[in-house]
């Protein structure tokens, strides 16, 4: 089986991730902040150590500025719902995932906020034109780090700098590309960032989070048990605890810590391998006359998308599956990106590689792709 769907979830994981999960669930097995006996204290200590690793990974200096959630979608909802108030305006890129689009559209439908979509030209050519889209009530600039559809890098440091000069807060959805260590919150002027553990960060499903440069004065998304100040009828004013109501997925959090350390230790090899694979794949696809490849020349992570002339994306996915190759077709929860590419009606096929893939797998993929032709 050839797995090219790492943008959905990475597979396999580094061996240290499996071991960390197994260790936690067998040897610790308790919940942080939920007891004062030794084993629960150790769980709380491991949670702190995990926060510290996440903060360091993204360039935030304060471990208490890491709020764990179940994924980036929850982190994005937490931030938008907690931050945005009546009359606020938000700028987004044309490549945002539905995890960004839908919470904003829902707030817009309720009459709370409005948002504008920056055209591609502002992202890549005339960045100064961002001024044309900033209004007096614009509070936030939202950029995905990389498109989950095309793999192209969307976040632009110059835009975050310009946004700050205009008094905006900069938020990055790092669901795609976080594991490449392309950004640093300090150097790149990122105020708040959402991540998920199971994609590019090579961790397990069920953990994500919100990282900020300073503690956020926002409203919690949910109310409930926090392990502290149980006498209060509502969540206490305690960051990050009050934003993590309910039992945390500590086995996945501990495994994420090991995944981040694995990435830190192997980042050069990961970049080199993925860079080779993606260049090799794109050059091979460019040579095929039956393939339409979208945005092949952008700087990107190891994801690309394409269509085969005269064949539906779902048929391509099915044919590849029959040959043991896993890719994803359809709209990819990224309607804005498909609108930008002009592929809403057709969908597209996305292939997403990672450092565990091989050139031989790409050769096999190309062999199958070359043979897919419209029925005559």
């Amino acid at each position: 089986m050839i797995y090219f769907d790492n943008a959905a979830t990475s597979r396999p994981k580094p061996e240290v991730v499996y071991k960390a999960f197994d260790y936690y669930i067998r040897e610790i097995g308790t919940s942080p902040g939920r007891g004062s006996y030794s084993l629960a204290i150790q769980a709380s200590r491991m949670l702190y150590q995990s926060r510290k690793t996440v903060a360091g990974f993204f360039g935030s200096v304060d471990p208490s500025c890491v709020v764990f959630t179940k994924n980036s979608t929850e982190a994005i909802n937490l931030y938008f719902d907690g931050l945005l108030k009546q009359g606020d305006h938000v700028l987004i890129s044309p490549y945002e995932h539905n995890a960004v689009l839908r919470p904003l559209q829902t707030l817009k439908n309720k009459g709370v906020i409005d948002y504008s979509v920056l055209p591609e030209e502002v992202l890549y050519c005339n960045k100064d034109r961002i001024n044309d889209y900033v209004q007096g009530n614009t509070k936030l600039l939202v950029l995905t780090l990389a498109s989950n559809l095309t793999g192209q890098i969307v976040f632009q440091r110059e835009l975050s700098h310009m946004a700050h000069q205009m008094g905006l807060t900069v938020f990055v959805d790092a669901s795609q590309g976080a594991g490449k260590k392309l950004i640093n919150m300090q150097d790149d002027e990122i105020d708040v960032l959402a991540f998920t553990g199971h994609k590019d960060l090579l961790g397990l499903p069920g953990v994500g989070g919100l990282v900020s440069k300073k503690q956020l004065g926002i409203t919690p998304l949910i109310q409930g048990g926090t392990g502290i100040h149980g006498e209060s009828y509502v969540n206490p004013n305690a960051y990050p605890d009050s934003y993590e109501s309910g039992t945390l997925n500590m086995p996945a959090i501990w495994a994420l810590k090991q995944a981040l350390e694995y990435i830190d230790e192997n980042i050069e090899q990961i970049r080199e391998k993925e860079s080779f694979l993606i260049d090799y794949a794109i050059e091979a696809l460019k040579r095929l006359d039956n393939v339409v490849l979208y945005h092949p020349d952008h700087i990107r992570v190891s994801t690309f998308c394409f269509n085969i002339k005269g064949v539906s994306s779902s048929d391509v996915v099915q044919t590849l599956d029959e040959q043991g190759i896993c890719v994803r077709g359809g709209i990819h929860c990224a309607i804005k990106a498909h609108e930008t590419l002009g592929t809403v009606a057709t969908g597209a096929v996305r292939a997403s590689l990672n450092c565990f893939n091989t050139r031989q797998e790409i050769d096999e993929f190309m062999r199958v792709i070359e043979g897919i032709r419209p029925c005559t």
Partner: protein, 64 residues
């Protein structure tokens, strides 16, 4: 002597700082004295008080 914090995260951040400064620490249940604080706290020797204070300067805590 108990160093009691408002947030769980601060307990373990402080534990790390104190150990870096050579203080012997033990995480223990917070004495039932003030319910407005975290469920666990740090037990240290009274003779280490001055080093403790300088080590966790700026953090939000009380000593009981």
């Amino acid at each position: 002597m108990h160093i009691v914090f408002y947030k769980t995260n601060d307990v373990f951040a402080a534990e790390e700082k104190l150990q870096e400064n050579g203080i012997t620490t033990k995480i223990v249940p917070t004495p039932v004295q003030d319910k407005a604080y975290c469920g666990v706290c740090i037990n240290v020797r009274e003779s280490d008080l001055e080093v403790v204070k300088s080590s966790i300067d700026g953090m939000d805590y009380i000593i009981i």
